[in-house]
């Protein structure tokens, strides 16, 4: 099922022509309307006129989150405020807030992108869609909400209702599609267990999950415990919807008619060949109020150009395991906390609570993974537990090239939500 078949299955030649036309028009508009771009291009002697091919975009400077912060609130808007019909502001954990504006046209296009993604994830006009998302913090919730309405589905904005009420709503209204974060989906599964109910009391068929990194192991668990097909999607409040999985679940189709994606080396900024892993950089192609040129997302991924059996021609992003600013460097090796989590899960420890501790002794980095001892260790044979621990150590060393020490700690002794403790600088 497609939402906009003629776009989603467009041949690559037509798509690239469309991208070039939209890129050139976007550049002409930002130079005219956004002082940051006008000044920066002038200083660097860049005329958007020199962009003749899509590849030429590499000659343009990056836009960063700092640029967006420094031009707070309205400096990056490309239309007068009277044309802006909605603004999403984020308080930002690291200080200065950001704000993104949308014209009526931006909202319409955003809803279409979300409708496309939801359709690819299985949602139709016959579905009851429960939006268990924090609308205040997650602008993506608004996009998905409008997209589901655009499709004609029945939408329940259950937002932050407590988990038991969420379950009750699902049961009473026979919710068929759940939109939330992957960790919240697991939390709902736990709640279902606590209520001594099971998935057969629900009518769920699809879970549309995103807004945080998650693993294939989590997907399996969610699909099994809630009885759904779970798909991933990706977006940024600065850009809106960027990519979403189809039911093939082999990576996220980029909305290539709306964003131009590049993968760069996060250190040197140089573009990387198609298929290689690096930082995702995005240029908006259709946004009116808040266009961005070569925006550094801080997210690490790769673009898969191989055709997808679903028939969509848009390329796919690999699942995003972590942000480049989460990245830790141990003895010169890059590691993402989510990679450690994935290895622990795959080694048979499930979603075990753990913490990565980095220390420095005599100028040498020491990396330790603290694990809350799983309950099975009390009942299993010592030999079996030791084998499991050894296996974890071995996989961490061979797959991440870091010799992590692995230590067990008391169950429920680690603080939640602090996967990395870096003590190297405090010494």
């Amino acid at each position: 099922m497609y939402w906009q078949r003629e776009i989603e299955c467009m041949d690559r030649e037509t798509l690239e022509l469309l991208q070039l036309e939209r890129l050139q028009a976007t550049l002409n508009r930002v130079v005219r309307n956004v002082p940051l771009y006008r000044q920066r291009f002038r200083e660097l002697g860049i005329d958007p006129y020199d962009i003749q091919r899509l590849e030429d975009i590499r000659h343009l400077p990056f836009t960063t989150k700092d640029d967006v912060r420094q031009n707070y609130p309205y400096g990056m808007f490309a239309v007068p405020l009277r044309d802006v019909v909605r603004m999403h502001t984020s308080s930002g954990f690291t200080g200065t807030p950001t704000v993104v504006g949308y014209t009526a046209g931006d909202l319409r296009r955003w809803a279409d992108l979300a409708a496309r993604m939801l359709t690819a994830a299985g949602v139709t006009q016959d579905d009851v869609v429960q939006m268990a998302c924090p609308y205040d913090l997650m602008s993506g919730a608004f996009g998905l909400h409008s997209g589901a309405e655009r499709i004609g589905a029945s939408v329940i904005p259950s937002a932050l209702a407590d988990p038991r009420r969420q379950i009750r709503i699902m049961q009473d209204y026979r919710t068929t599609a759940l939109v939330c974060t992957p960790s919240y989906a697991l939390h709902l599964a736990d709640t279902l267990d606590a209520l001594a109910a099971n998935k057969t009391s629900l009518s769920l068929r699809f879970a549309i999950l995103g807004s945080e990194p998650w693993t294939e192991a989590m997907r399996e668990e969610i699909e099994e415990r809630l009885g759904v097909a779970a798909t991933d999607h990706y977006g940024l409040s600065e850009i809106t919807a960027v990519a979403g999985e189809c039911l093939e679940r082999r990576g996220l189709h980029l909305h290539e008619d709306a964003v131009l994606a590049e993968i760069i080396d996060p250190i040197s900024g140089a573009p990387l060949p198609l298929g290689e892993r690096g930082e995702l950089v995005l240029t908006t192609l259709t946004k009116e109020a808040f266009p961005l040129v070569r925006y550094r997302t801080g997210d690490l991924t790769a673009i898969d150009p191989t055709p997808c059996p679903c028939g969509r021609t848009f390329r796919r992003l690999a699942r995003i395991p972590g942000r480049s600013d989460d990245m830790i460097i141990v003895g010169g090796v890059n590691v993402f906390p989510a990679q450690v989590a994935a290895i622990l899960a795959e080694a048979g420890l499930g979603q075990v609570r753990h913490q990565i501790v980095l220390e420095r002794e005599e100028h040498m980095d020491q990396a330790i993974v603290l694990l809350e001892a799983p309950e099975s260790f009390c009942t299993d044979s010592i030999k079996k537990s030791q084998r499991l621990m050894e296996n974890v150590r071995l996989r961490l060393r061979t797959e991440l090239s870091v010799a992590f020490a692995v230590r067990l700690v008391e169950p429920r002794s680690l603080p939640p939500g602090a996967p990395v403790v870096d003590d190297r600088r405090s010494r």
Binding site: E21, Q24, Y49, I51, Q52, D83
Partner: protein, 248 residues
Amino acid sequence: MRLMVRNLDVFYGAIHALRRVTLHVDAGEIVALVGANGAGKTTMLATISGILRPRQGSVRLGERELTHLAPEAVVAAGLSHVPEGRRVFRPLSVEDNLRLGAYRRRAQRQAIAEDLERIYAMFPILRERRRQPAGTLSGGEQQMLAMGRALMARPRVLLLDEPSMGLAPLVVQEILNHIQNLRQKAGLTVLVVEQNARAALAIADRGYVLENGRIVLHGTAEELLNNHDVQRAYLGREREEACTGSGR
């Protein structure tokens, strides 16, 4: 067959009239190129039809490269241009004006007679006025004559330059209906250039907005009609808002 214009750069003497313009028109599409007077719209059509030479860039129809062809070779390749101001030959009769459009095929008398018949079927008023000097026609009739003359070359793509200019609103509507018919009945692909953005976007599938020789917006006709920039600059929306007090 797709008309494709890529990175077109055109100078009018020292004036840089078109700055790296890329656009396309797919087979069977009606695409509008809108913009203020002097934005480069007419230059665009004149370059596509071989009257002006681009400094850089290319024009292609399907696989065929048209960039450096003479105007008559462009017509032979399937593109006909209906110029601004209609340019009918005022002392000649309507039918003689039409025959001029088949100048290239003057030996094929039978085919020409058929084409005349086809055009009269499309524009019955021209049949009624076939013996009259073209100069005695109304503005709308002259526009139909100019379009009919272009059709005598049996084009696949029609380039229309300001077809609504100087016409009364009702007549504009009639011309727009004819353009839609050309697509529906004759399967033509149309690139129409207009200052009257509302009229052009009313019949177009997609549109491009040209400003100072650069494309600044591109979207479906509906998107452009709803775009505030377009409304302010080309649709006269601001004044309406001020009158009704609905403006912010």
